[in-house]
């Protein structure tokens, strides 16, 4: 079993390398270290969100509200920054995390205490959070000239050769790896996803676990809310619209099973990188960016079909069609 899991990540690494080689055949400049660092930086937002979503999917849930949560947190922080430019970036980041966490906790509470299916709750809050952003901002944008210079510059600051944005992604990968692999909470997330009934018998409160999982996913979305607004230097009601599906796509390409209990940090990161490389490569190889959507669609279907073939256990189908004769 352990070897099988290992195998999947190796395949994902190979898929990423093959993709890079394919691009390098025509544009060798794409695989220069400086450009690869740039690609990683461009994919950072997707990677961070994918880590949060992976945790949710592993617990056998789905969070459709992350993009709207990101939009709300980003807008709130940007407006605060525009109104009070003297508040330091550190405080704003903590606030962004806090706002995201609060919204995620709202999802979690509804799922834990009211026992509403996660997909229904987050489908509802998907509309609610984005609507709330409109109410908060009155439909107005926060533009580059309204944001303070340090607010924009922080995530671009180069430390040890990489921008802070990349470093945040790297730290997030490390934290999630520790959480999911070595912390009791991470293991209980897997347990709740693999077999909720058995998890209850081993003393895991599945509802509470899901609550915390949604808190994590919300906090991550809040953090990315700041990063997104600072990176694209615009806060509007429209930002990241539909991005939740890209994040789910990255999880699926990364081998996270929608049925819960299966998925790893390495897989999620590789899945996000795969989509990130495609997004960055399309303009380089002169393909219209309109192709990106169709390509990621095909990538999802192929990745899931391949994963499924590896996962299917023999003897699952009890009644074969030939036996009925």
């Amino acid at each position: 079993m352990k070897r099988l899991v290992k195998l999947r990540e190796i395949w994902l690494v190979l898929a990423n390398v093959a993709l890079l080689l394919l691009i390098a055949l025509r544009f060798p400049g794409f695989v220069k270290p400086a450009n690869l660092a740039q690609v990683f930086n461009d994919s950072s937002l997707l990677i961070i969100l994918t880590l949060g979503q992976m945790t949710v999917i592993v617990s056998r849930s789905l969070d459709l509200s992350i993009a709207s949560n990101l939009c709300f947190s980003g807008m709130a922080i940007a407006m605060l920054n525009a109104a009070h430019p003297h508040i330091s970036v550190g405080v704003l980041i903590v606030l962004a995390l806090g706002i995201g966490l609060a919204l995620g906790a709202l999802n979690g509470l509804l799922i834990w205490l009211c026992e509403v299916p996660p997909i229904v709750v987050t489908l509802g809050t998907l509309s609610i959070f984005r609507g709330a952003t409109y109410v908060l901002s009155g439909g107005a944008w926060v533009n580059a000239d309204q944001m303070s210079p340090s607010f924009i510059a922080f995530q671009r600051m180069v430390v040890l050769g990489l921008p802070v944005l990349s470093w945040i992604a790297i730290v997030a990968i490390g934290l999630f790896a520790i959480l999911m692999r070595w912390m009791p909470f991470g293991r209980s997330v897997y347990a709740a996803g693999v077999n909720p009934t058995a998890a209850v018998y081993t003393g895991i409160d599945v509802g509470r676990t899901k609550f915390f999982v949604f808190c994590i996913s919300g906090a991550v979305a809040g953090l990315v809310g700041y990063l997104w607004v600072a990176r694209y230097v615009i806060a509007s009601v429209e930002i990241a619209s539909g991005y939740e599906l890209t994040v789910i796509a990255a999880c699926l390409v990364g081998g996270v099973s929608i049925a819960g209990g299966v998925g790893s940090v390495a897989g999620a990161v590789l899945g996000a990188l795969f989509l990130g490389i495609i997004a960055d490569a399309l303009p380089v190889i002169n393909v219209s960016p309109f192709w990106q959507m169709a390509i990621s669609g095909v990538a999802i279907i192929v990745a899931v079909a391949l994963n499924l073939r590896g996962e299917r256990r023999p003897g699952r189908i009890i009644l074969k069609p030939t036996e009925t004769a």
Binding site: I119, V120, L123, G124, L252, M293, I301
Partner: protein, 334 residues
């Protein structure tokens, strides 16, 4: 077996219930809510109670409602289709191409519906025969279908449709009764009959309630699921014809986000997300409620995006209340 046994699978013997008890069901609650919103709307806006206003109201839900009917069947069988809006976009885009090539109106309708059917068959193949989880397969095809629409149209729009295509989305059958509304009512009756009065309908419930038992009872699970995906695709194609005709133009972003509205309608209509329970009258009432809420708020100049807060809250509240109510009652009576 009566309808009641299906909705409350845990209580098998509800055949000889008094009438008042049988009326205490989800559909009655929905009807009461619909009436209440209707009354509030009539008081809140002087423009609401007018035949033409009410006719305009129906346009807010007929297209999504048509898809919701087929989606309800899919939900009951335990599956899911997120790609319906993308199918609409692709069907509309290809209709635009056909119109550019000089196709006549009947041919355009055939193109729209056929594209929908083919896309649905693709979904069905992935889910029923290749056994992809439906949420995953249709997230993939959702990107794929809309992606193809974007590849074909880019940032352009298609608007060269023959004038008589406009009838489907803008025409009226009799006075203020639109063609779309008539189509929706007919489709609702047909779907209600198929789901509640035929063996095919019974099989859909069986598949959703217990797929393994369904296999043992000789139900061809994969084939029926495939057919249901085809049906959902077909209805999306039909909705694409209507929306193309109503707007008279096609952009690749047409019907963006409709899938969530359709799913909200189905879930609001009392169809179980785990499969095995639901009814067509519920879905029709839910479609009316969504239409009443959006149109009523629209008359009061509330922006669409604020309406989405109301719709989202309505969805969560209506799903959260029954389990919460049952939990409270259980605690009170031990």
């Amino acid at each position: 077996m009566s309808e009641a046994t299906v909705q409350r699978r845990l209580v098998p013997d509800r055949l000889d219930q008094p009438l008042w008890r049988r009326l205490m069901c989800w559909e009655t609650l929905l009807a009461a809510i619909a009436l209440a919103i209707f009354a509030i709307n009539s008081v809140a806006s002087p423009y609401f109670l007018d035949p033409w206003s009410l006719s305009d109201l129906t346009f807010t839900f007929t297209e999504k409602g048509l898809i919701a009917l087929a989606m309800a069947l899919l939900f009951i069988s335990g599956e899911f289709d997120l790609s319906v809006a993308a199918i609409m976009a692709l069907a509309s885009t290809l209709m635009g191409m056909a119109a550019q090539a000089g196709a006549s109106t009947p041919l355009l309708v055939v193109v729209g519906v056929a594209v929908g059917l083919l896309c649905g068959a693709g979904n069905g193949l992935l889910v029923a025969y290749f056994r992809l989880p439906s949420i995953v397969g249709t997230v993939g095809t959702m990107s794929l279908f809309r992606g193809v629409a974007f590849i074909i149209l880019g940032d352009q729009a298609d608007g060269k449709y023959p004038a008589d295509l406009a009838f489907f989305g803008q025409g009226y059958v009799w006075r203020a009764i639109s063609f779309e509304l008539v189509l929706f009512v007919v489709a609702a009756i047909v779907y209600g009959f198929v789901l509640h009065c035929t063996t095919f309908g019974r099989r859909i419930f069986v598949i959703g309630a217990n797929p393994e038992a369904a296999v043992y009872s000789g139900v061809r699970v994969a084939r029926i699921k495939f057919q249901l995906f085809c049906l959902t695709g077909l209805m999306s194609g039909l909705a694409a014809v209507l929306i193309t005709s109503r707007l008279g133009s096609t952009r690749p972003s047409i019907a963006q986000g409709y899938e969530l509205d359709v799913i909200t309608m189905v879930v609001l209509g009392g169809v179980s997300i785990e499969g095995g329970a639901g009814s067509i009258p519920g879905v029709v009432l839910a479609a009316c409620i969504m239409g009443l809420v959006t149109f009523g708020l629209g008359l009061l100049n509330v922006p669409t995006i604020v309406m989405s807060i109301v719709i989202g809250a309505l969805l969560i509240a209506i799903i959260a209340l029954p389990p919460l109510w049952r939990k409270l009652r259980r605690e009170r009576f031990g």
